[in-house]
Amino acid sequence: MATSEFDTVVIGAGAVGSAVAYGLCRAGERVCLLDEGDIAYRASRGNFGLVWVQGKGVGNPDYARWTRASANRWPGFADELATVTGVDVALSQAGGFAICVDEQELQAKADAFESIRRDMGGDYPYEVLTTTQLRTQIPAAGSAVAGAVFCPMDGHVSPLKLLRALFDGVQRQGGQLRTGSSIKRIEPRPDGGFLIHAGTSPIASAKVVLAAGLGNRDLAPQVGLYAPVKPIRGQLLVTERLQSFLRYPTTNVRQTDEGSVQIGPSYEDVGFDDHTTLTEIARMAARALRCFPCLSTANIVRTWGALRVMSPDNFPIYQASSQHPGAFVVTCHSGITLAAQHAGPIAEWIHRGPQPTEIAKFSSERFHVQKD
């Protein structure tokens, strides 16, 4: 193999790419982390910040286990980031609530949780709560709801502080972060390794990791990979900073460590349109008010839309290229929840293998019509 400036180039400096790059730097690799710039869709800047386990992996116990393993790994990961970078990412894992506004919703949730619990052999803690029980746990919750599901495995974190910690951690451990690096082409070299055509001169590296979110769809075929991801829009509202009134994250309202209240979410299949719409903003605000009537006087200071990176079955894609060894794709919707796994076992796998057995089901081969 020709000599390369870097062991690994990671394409995409969102939560996924930065976590992988951080793990590779920790393993001693020479890493270059490429960030497209503010023209990118930047799901990692627009998300809700949950470290979320509940409800994930209905019909897919491997995903339920993978998610839970990441949540379990998060406290150590956050401590490590604080030690290496001095950045407190404001992780809190006191449990999370899904507040349901009608009986039908609550029943659907309870059924879904029960099916995951069955798949997990009973080891899946959660409680279905009446409105009275909910209001004992969260006094600010409204009375005009049907109840909630509480799961002690859930939590939240500041996604922006996480990014800052990862960027800092990469650079403190010898990695390079290059912004404004749109990828023109990835060229597999005949004798192994890759030339990444970005900026003025190509970057040579032994390995390349595609973590470019929605950009992976077009990059993957250049190195014999397949990543059929597409955008699903989510809109969010954020309030002025308020005194702490909500200790726990919920699926549609959470209060950040600095006092702002985030209100969401929407799920919209509208292609690459990341604008906001009055219809969705109004619907989410109305639901938030029903769950937390005390928000009626809060000022909304900002609203935005961001694009989730969704695979056809909504589960992650982790794949090594057999055609071009050294090329990997890592993409998922839950880049915050799974950051601890990406900096841990996924980075270890890319560093020196072997592939973790837990991710066998997350290869992109599952999307091929004709399997071997």
């Binding site: 600095e258 009537p293 005390c294 928000l295 009626s296």
Partner: protein, 99 residues
């Protein structure tokens, strides 16, 4: 620190943190507070840093005060009314349901 360059006659009063201050109806509240010698309008919600008006034109959001019970009002964007009750903010607003 500040003084009016013309017409310094006062024609109404407002209450600032319980203290009655003679001032001019219709003037921007931020200017009324500055003229009354208020230099720290608020302390920020996260770090508690002192803040005063910067832009005086509705952009910087540094002049936030509580006006008649409503928190985070831009003092440069409201006019003084007789009897207005102003509280300087210490940290974040509390949540409260509409009456």
């Amino acid at each position: 620190m500040f003084k009016r360059i013309e017409n310094s006659a006062t024609d109404c009063t407002i209450e600032v943190d319980g203290k009655v201050i003679p001032t001019q109806a219709g003037a921007p509240l931020a200017l009324a507070l500055l003229a009354a010698g208020v230099s720290t309008f608020r302390q920020t919600a996260v770090s508690g840093e002192p803040r005063a008006p910067l832009c005086l034109m509705g952009v910087c959001f540094d002049c936030l005060v509580q006006v008649d019970g409503q928190p985070n009002v831009q003092a440069c964007m409201v006019r003084v009314r007789d009897g207005m009750r102003v509280q300087l903010q210490r940290g974040a607003a509390t949540v409260r349901e509409a009456a």
